[in-house]
Amino acid sequence: MIVDAHVHIGKSTRLQINMDGEGLVRIADSLGVDKLCCTDLTALFYDMHEGNRLLFDEMRRFPDRILGYASLHSTRFDEEALDEIRRCREVYGMRGLKIYSTPEMSIAESATIPILELCAELKMPILAHTTPAECEYLMARVPEVQFIMAHAGGQPFAHGDWNRAIMVAERFPNLYLDTACSTVDTGFVEACVRALGADRVIFGTDVPLLDPWPQLAKVRETQLTDAQRALLMGGNILRLMGVSA
C-alpha cells in the first residue's frame, strides 16, 4: 500500500491552489497511491474551524482514500486551538496535526508546547513545516511527541538543509523526516535511511503544490529493500496514525 503523507486540499490564493477531494483522488489513481493524508488550506492559513470542517466533508466523501490532519492557522490561539485539535480527533476522526512555520513567525516558542503535549497524549503525529533548528527547540521540550519534519527541514520553500535535518533527527528518536521537497538532491533518501533507519523516513509529495511524479520516483526508485520501501511509502505513516493497512 502506498500512502502519501503530505497532501493539501482546498483553496489558497498565495499557493494558487484550488483542489478538492475528487481532483486529488484522480491524481492518486494515476500515481498508484492508495491513501492521501490531507491538510486543508483554509484551516492552515485562515480559519481552522471552517477548514477542518471542510476536510471532514471530504473525508466522508472518500473514506477509503482520504485521511485527515487537523490544521491550525496559528499556534497562538491557546485553548481554542487545543479544543479544535480534540474536536478533530474525537468528532472528525483526524489522525494527525499539521502546523506551519515561517521565518517571520516561527513556531519555536512557548505557545506551541501545549499543542505538542496534547498531540502526544492523543497519539497524533504532527507534520510541521519547520526548520531543523525549530524541531530541535520543540523536541527538546516535548521529546515524546511524534514529529514529522516536513520537507526534511524545508522552510520556507520546501527544500531544506537535509544534512542538518538528519543531524537533528539523530538526537531525537521520535523525529521523522518527510521526503517531499522542491528539489531532488542525489542521495537524499538514501542518506536519510542510512542515518535514521527506514522506519524514520516518510514518503510525501506535497501535491498539488509540487509535481507528485518526481516525488514518487525519487522514493520508489531508490536503492532500498522491499521491506524498507514499504515502510517509507506507507507503513510508517500508518503506524504513527494508528491506521491498519
Binding site: 494558487q16 492559513f45 480559519d47 513567525m105
Partner: protein, 220 residues
C-alpha cells in the same frame, strides 16, 4: 465626515481578534465615530480572492450606509495568467464595488511582470476607482512587505498614463520611507495614515504630503 480608507472584515489568522463579521466591524467603526469605510474581506487575502469579494459584497449590501466595497483581484489559481474575460471589470461595477486592492506578495505575483496589473489599472482609471496597494497586512506576518521601489518603478514605467492609484503605506522603521517619498512625487498617488506607526521619521515624512493626498486608516 471621517472615512476609513482601509478597513477589513473577516478572520485574522495570526491571533484572536474580537471583531470579524460585518456587523461587528460596523459597530466598532461607530464606536470610533468613523462614518464610512472602504472594506475588503481578509478571505480575499488568505483563501480565495473571489470568495472574499462575495463576502465583501454581502457585507456592503447589509450596511450600505457605512461600508464601501473594494474588490481584491489576483491571478487565477494554478496558472499565473489572468484572463480579463474570466473576470470582466464591468461585473464588479454592477456588483457595487468602488475600488480595488491588490496584494501581490500574498498572491504570489509580481507587479512588474503580470500584464493583468496594467489592465486593472486601466479599467480602474476608466471608472475613476482608486487602486490600493498595501505594502503589508498589519505587520510582516507570513510574507515580507511589498517593496515601495517596485511601486515607484511601476509608476515610472506607466509615465503620463499612470492611472489614479493609492498605496497603503504602513512602512516598517527602516523600510520604505525613501520609497514612500519617491512614490508621492507622482501626484496621482495617495498615502494612508498608517504610515504613522509611531516612528518619528515616518510621521515627519507624512507631514510633507499635502492633506488632500492623505487618507485615514484606523487599522480595523
Amino acid at each position: 465626515m471621517i472615512f476609513d480608507a482601509n478597513a477589513f472584515l473577516g478572520k485574522w489568522p495570526y491571533w484572536p481578534t474580537p471583531r470579524s463579521t460585518a456587523a461587528e466591524v460596523v459597530e466598532e467603526l461607530k464606536g470610533l465615530r468613523i462614518e464610512r469605510a472602504a472594506v475588503c474581506s481578509t478571505r480575499s487575502i488568505f483563501v480565495n480572492w473571489e470568495d472574499g469579494n462575495c463576502e465583501t459584497q454581502a457585507a456592503a449590501t447589509s450596511f450600505p450606509e457605512v461600508l464601501i466595497p473594494f474588490a481584491c483581484l489576483g491571478t487565477q489559481e494554478l496558472s499565473h495568467s489572468w484572463k480579463p474575460s474570466d473576470y470582466p471589470f464591468d461585473r464588479y461595477v454592477v456588483r457595487g464595488f468602488r475600488g480595488i486592492r491588490l496584494y501581490p506578495q500574498h498572491h504570489s505575483y509580481h507587479l512588474l511582470f503580470e500584464s493583468f496589473v496594467d489592465e486593472i489599472l486601466e479599467d480602474a482609471a476608466a471608472c475613476r476607482w482608486p487602486v490600493v496597494l498595501p505594502l503589508r497586512v498589519v505587520m510582516n506576518w507570513g510574507v515580507p512587505a511589498l517593496d515601495p521601489a517596485v511601486i515607484t518603478s511601476h509608476v515610472l514605467r506607466e509615465g503620463p498614463h499612470q492611472k489614479r492609484a493609492k498605496p497603503h503605506s504602513a512602512f516598517g522603521p527602516l523600510r520604505g520611507v525613501k520609497g514612500f517619498a519617491d512614490t508621492l512625487k507622482h501626484s496621482r498617488w495617495h498615502a494612508d495614515s498608517r504610515v504613522c506607526d509611531g516612528e518619528s521619521k515616518d510621521i515627519a515624512c507624512s507631514l510633507t504630503v499635502q492633506p488632500h493626498r492623505l487618507t485615514i486608516d484606523a487599522g480595523l
